[in-house]
Structures are given as structure tokens and as C-alpha cells.
Amino acid sequence: MSISISGNSYGHGYVSSSVNNKQYKVAEETCLADVIAEEAMMTPEQKMMYELMGGREAHMKNLMRSYNSDGDYIGPGGIIVPGMHHGRSGSTDRSTWQQIISVSDEARQKMFDNVKREFIQENGISNGDTTKRSKIFREYQLSVKKEDRAKGTWTLQQYEGKYRSAMYAAVKAANPDWEPGQSFDSSILDSVTRESVESNLVQSGNQFVRKSVDYSV
């Protein structure tokens, strides 16, 4: 992950013996121009502090820690899965990754089980403090090739919403007065299976919609 930076033969004063690796190159392509521009704008005090902290060499080394050996931006500690960073905001059209693709039964089942567990645990409330959905997405992302990660994640999110809606509908059907936050008999959800929900979905653009019009709007 880390890269050794030493010597002065590359012309920037922070030259690496590993300048040919992707981690270095991407960090350089992405950041160096901005760093140089920033250096030009520094006040003498800022410049002094900058140099005391190791200057450009140390700076680039720190920035490069957010990249992996393939040159993907992965953030501090690798919190971003390669393929999930879309570069400068707005630079990539969302439609390139907000697409429906095939997602494995295993991944969909994991998501379904998580939605069900959280629906019961939180009595139908969507609690962002306790949810494990990020973990499900990350596991999925790491299980597929980089090119499919963002698209598959989008697809999985579409399923997730439909699973939750089906569970809500089931509890409501059993007790029309029920509201999220009120307890309910969790065995109501025994009749809601991933297969039963998915069999009623059809793709519409980059989303899923229900085949039959069950909801009165």
C-alpha cells in the first residue's frame, strides 16, 4: 500500500524509486498540479510550515496513502472500495453506474435478510444509526469485478427498497392501523420471501416497479 519515496532524480525534489507504479502515477496526475498551484499561493509563513513538515515530498507521500497499488482512490484506511469512487464530483455521468445489472442470488438474499432483520429490530423504522447496510454493500462490492461494483450496488439498492416496502405492506395488510415504530408479530413476515417480492417486480429504466398495481395513490 505505502510507497517508498527517496532521492531527487525525478525533478520534483521528492522523487520515488517506485515512480512507475500506478499508485504514484495516479496520485501525481490527480494531485500534483493542485499541490504545485497551492505552493505558489502560500504565504511565507505557510511555506515555512509546509517545508518544516517535509514539503512536497512528505505531502505527496501522505496523499498517495489514499490510493491503492492499482491507482484507485480508496480513501484513508481503504474505506472506499476500488471502483466506487467517481472522481471529481459531476465529472462522471451518474447514468454510467446507475444501471440495473444481474446481481447474484446470494447477494440479494443477504440484503433481504438484513432488511428483514432491521425491519423487525426497529419495528419498521429505517434507523441509520444501527443499520448494517453499508457492510452488505461492501461485501457485495468485494465479491464482484471492479467494473460491476457501482452498477451492482445501484441494483441492490433498488431491491432493498422493494423488500422493505413488501414487509411494510405485509404488516399493514395484517393490521391496517399499524404504524412504523409500533411492535408487531414478526411471524407476519414469514410470508414475505425474497422470491415472492422479486417475482412481482419488473424493470423500468434503471429501477424496479411492481408488476401489478396494488397501491392506490
Binding site: H59, L63, R94, S126, L189, Y215
Partner: protein, 155 residues
């Protein structure tokens, strides 16, 4: 006799409505095709503030923010903004936001306190953990960021 029957019927109905918990027997009757639920929709938002983020010489400073409870079953983000209050003497910086699904994008942020808009998360479900990352382009950057996420929802 008629009165007694009526009374019994009323008591039974009241039990069904207010006393008896939702039963599994009722659930057994549920099928996807039979569920009829009146859809309700609306819009909502959450706003969370990071602690002071100090990035020294390009090292990353990161804060984790939770959406808290979100309305609705199906949600769709309509906008994500990050208001950055930048301490004086700070250098420009990279501002990166990571959504709960793991999508992320970066903006090159200036030294003035400004609100930045990320269009990359539109359509996503906002529920869960968000990350705000600051990476200084100079010696030091100190920022307090407020993440605001607007979304539509429906039941």
C-alpha cells in the same frame, strides 16, 4: 338475545382493533398480490456536523456521520450539500464524501467558507453512515463541515 349478540360483536371488534396484536394467522393470508396499502410520499432531510477536521500536509482527516432515522420505505436523494467553515490560514483541500452504499466523489475546495453541492448521490437511499474526508493541499487545513442530505420518500 339480539342485544347480547350485538354487544358480543362490538366487544370482539374492539378486541381485534385495539387489544389483539397483529397475529401470525393473519399474516399467513398475506400475498404480494393481495397487499393494498395507501401510498404516502413526501420529502425530508437530515443535516449533520462534523467535528473540526484537521488535515496536515496532505494527510486525510475523516468524520463519520449517521443519517439517523429516515422517513419512508423507499427513498431517493435529491441533493447533497456540504457547508465548509474553513479556519483562517488554511490551504485549499480535497473534500470527499462517501455515501452509505460506498459511492464517493471529490471536490477541490477553496479557502473561503462555502457550500459545495455533490450531484453524484442523487437517486440513492440516504440511510446509514456517511463519511466526510478532508485532505489538505498545503501545510494545514482546518474545516468544520455540515452535511445536508435532501431526499424524497414514500411508503
Amino acid at each position: 338475545m339480539k342485544r347480547k349478540l350485538s354487544l358480543l360483536l362490538v366487544v370482539t371488534l374492539l378486541c381485534t382493533l385495539f387489544v389483539t396484536p397483529v397475529s401470525a394467522a393473519e399474516a399467513a393470508n398475506y400475498t404480494e398480490d393481495q397487499a393494498v396499502v395507501t401510498a404516502t410520499s413526501g420529502s425530508n432531510y437530515f443535516s449533520k456536523i462534523t467535528p473540526k477536521l484537521n488535515s496536515l500536509n496532505g494527510s486525510a482527516a475523516m468524520a463519520k456521520l449517521s443519517s439517523g432515522s429516515c422517513s419512508g420505505n423507499e427513498r431517493s436523494i435529491t441533493s447533497v450539500t456540504v457547508n465548509c467553515r474553513v479556519s483562517s490560514g488554511s490551504s485549499r483541500f480535497y473534500l470527499t464524501v462517501v455515501s452509505p452504499s460506498g459511492n464517493s466523489a471529490t471536490i477541490l475546495a477553496g479557502t473561503n467558507s462555502t457550500t459545495y453541492t455533490f450531484s453524484d448521490f442523487i437517486g440513492e437511499d440516504p440511510k446509514g453512515e456517511w463519511y466526510v474526508i478532508v485532505e489538505s493541499l498545503g501545510a494545514v487545513t482546518t474545516v468544520t463541515a455540515t452535511l445536508k442530505v435532501n431526499y424524497n420518500y414514500f411508503y
